[in-house]
């Protein structure tokens, strides 16, 4: 167990943790769906609206200067946090889904029907549906990296389907349904050898360990603020400059053009080309503050503590007879996806809620993984650095009661 990690002190940063559910203290094990928000991030939003709310980039007045500076500071924070080379390679979006759609739409005019794209069998719907839409308009073919029995990617099969025809490979860094960490370094290198670009969906990884995008040499990367202690409605897309230049924007509007007449429009430079309209200004600024917060604690410490939580939870939950964990592996973030024999995942979730325990149940927007395991859904308990070992004990006790009620 990790003694250097002062979880009680950290928990004081999160006002929601004093909430009672059904008269019991909230135990929040749905961190993979959305992270909770520390008070410094909430205050940052409040501060924005109370002190310098203004539209940005084109205002001549002080409020607009102040808001613009804060907004662009946030861009630099993202750049530094993920070790990105140029700040204009950071595009603010409304979230991972929006980011992926920018890329899939951008490629829909670049790819042809002779091209192929590769997706993993572990994807969130947000990293499947946009590419299906792209395929429809470009005619490119989709290949899927199959899963091995435990849910890990079958890398031999990946080597088989990867070819010079492959133009884009897209997969998540960590699977939201199972918590499996994919071997993205390997996948990026193998793909680049064939001349294919790689998009990594980091929605589930960025909160759990440090990521160095220059070192990874990945072509596109994206994450959502709301899973990183930040607010809803904001995320970012990293893309290599030369690729962003080649792609057409998903949306047109103010900010993203440099010249408009009715017959012709010239797009503005990066990053503005992809940031049409008034952005989520307060959200972007608060996202920057959230990254500061994570760095103040230290992602390495977070990673170690969460690994300890996961080990502990694994050892406890396995004591429950009939409980089956999906996607077991050494390379996992702190997520346990499970079922109990003969019981529907919904029933477990609904009753855990009565104990004040928030888990997610169902398909987790990843129907193909559920199909792989031949299940309708699972219970997913996702832990984070705001959780305690005691809470895992509480989950264990609650699960035993739930099981006896339902069988």
């Amino acid at each position: 167990m990790n003694l250097s990690f002062n979880v009680e002190k950290i928990r004081q940063d999160f006002p929601i943790l004093s909430k009672k559910i059904n008269n019991k203290p909230l135990i929040y094990f749905d961190n993979a769906a959305t992270s909770q928000t520390p008070i410094c991030v909430i205050d940052c939003i409040k501060d924005y609206y109370e002190k310098y709310n203004s539209n940005i980039h084109r205002g001549v007045h002080s409020l607009s200067d102040e808001a613009t500076s804060a907004y662009e500071d946030a861009r630099n924070k993202v750049k530094d946090h993920f070790n990105i080379k140029y700040s204009e390679e950071v595009i603010f979006t409304s979230g991972t889904t929006h980011s992926i759609n920018i890329v899939s739409n951008g490629f829909s005019k670049i790819l042809t029907k002779d091209d192929e794209i590769i997706v993993s069998g572990l994807e969130h719907h947000s990293n499947i549906v946009p590419w299906q839409m792209m395929i429809e308009s470009s005619g490119a073919k989709l290949k899927v990296i199959p899963l091995m029995e435990n849910g890990e990617l079958d890398m031999d099969e990946f080597a088989n389907i990867l070819s010079l025809k492959t133009k884009v490979v897209f997969l998540n860094h960590v699977s939201n349904a199972l918590g499996l960490i994919n071997p993205i370094e390997k996948i990026i290198n193998m793909s680049h050898e064939k001349g294919a670009y790689v998009l990594i969906d980091g929605a589930q990884s960025a909160a759990h360990f440090k990521i160095d995008l220059q070192k990874l040499n990945v072509d596109f990367f994206t994450a959502s603020a709301h899973k990183l202690c930040g607010p809803t409605g904001v995320g970012f897309l990293y893309g290599k400059k030369e690729l962003l230049h080649r792609m057409e924007p998903l949306m047109g509007g103010g900010e993203m053009i440099s010249d408009v007449t009715f017959s012709k429009t010239t797009y503005a430079d990066l990053p503005h080309k992809f940031e049409a309209g008034t952005p989520n200004i307060s959200g972007v600024i608060a996202f920057g503050r959230a990254l500061d917060y994570l760095n103040e604690i230290g992602l390495e410490k977070i990673e170690n503590y969460e690994n300890d939580l996961l080990d502990y939870a694994n050892s406890k939950l396995k004591q429950i007879e009939g409980l089956k964990i999906y996607g077991e592996s050494k390379n996992k973030t702190s997520v346990i996806s499970f079922n109990i024999e003969g019981i529907h995942s919904y029933d477990i979730g609904a009753l855990l809620d009565k104990f004040g325990i928030a888990v997610r149940t169902g398909q987790h927007c990843a129907q193909p993984i559920m199909d792989h395991f031949g299940v309708d859904g699972t219970v997913r308990a996702s832990f984070s650095f705001i959780n305690t070992f005691q809470e895992i004990d509480d989950l264990f006790e609650a699960l035993k009661k739930v099981k006896s009620m339902l069988s």
């Binding site: 059904n22 019981i343 919904y346 029933d347 979730g349 009753l351 009565k354 309708d376 009620m405």
Partner: protein
């Protein structure tokens, strides 16, 4: 018995419980009362959208009243269906159309009415009303 009285009966039954455990144990009990629904009725057409566990609802008009058959994979959902059918089964379409769901709040199951798509109580009630409307026109 009118729909209103059936609802009152249910409210009275639930008043009896001191804590949520008893309440949910009762709901689980009720799930066992559901009339058997044969697999061939569990078709795509009878599937209700917007519930996390699969829920099937079948309706037939018999002597001017609607006969419902329903089932679900989840026990709690089944128990809640059972409550619903206690109220709405074998009713004339107009009775159903005139009804409301206030009693759900009174028995402390308000959370199941949320527009959250995980729990499908609103969807089930919508579908029941939909059938009532369809049969009232036929």
């Amino acid at each position: 018995m009118t729909i209103e009285n059936a609802q009152k009966d249910i409210i009275d039954n639930f008043l009896f419980f001191d804590d949520w455990t008893q309440k949910y144990e009762y709901i689980i009990e009720l799930s066992k009362d559901l009339e058997f629904m044969s697999d061939n009725l569990k078709s795509e057409d009878n599937l209700i959208k917007g519930c996390q566990s699969k829920v099937w609802l079948h309706a037939e008009m018999i002597n001017g009243k609607i006969n419902f058959l329903a089932d679900s994979e989840a026990i709690i959902t089944k128990g809640i269906i059972s409550i619903l059918l206690n109220v709405f089964n074998n009713r004339k379409p107009q009775e159903i159309l005139d009804s409301d769901m206030g009693f759900i709040e009174k028995i402390g199951l308000k959370e199941h009415l949320s527009p959250n798509r995980a729990n499908g109580l609103s969807s089930m009630y919508k579908q029941i009303k939909f059938y009532a409307l369809a049969f009232s026109k036929s």
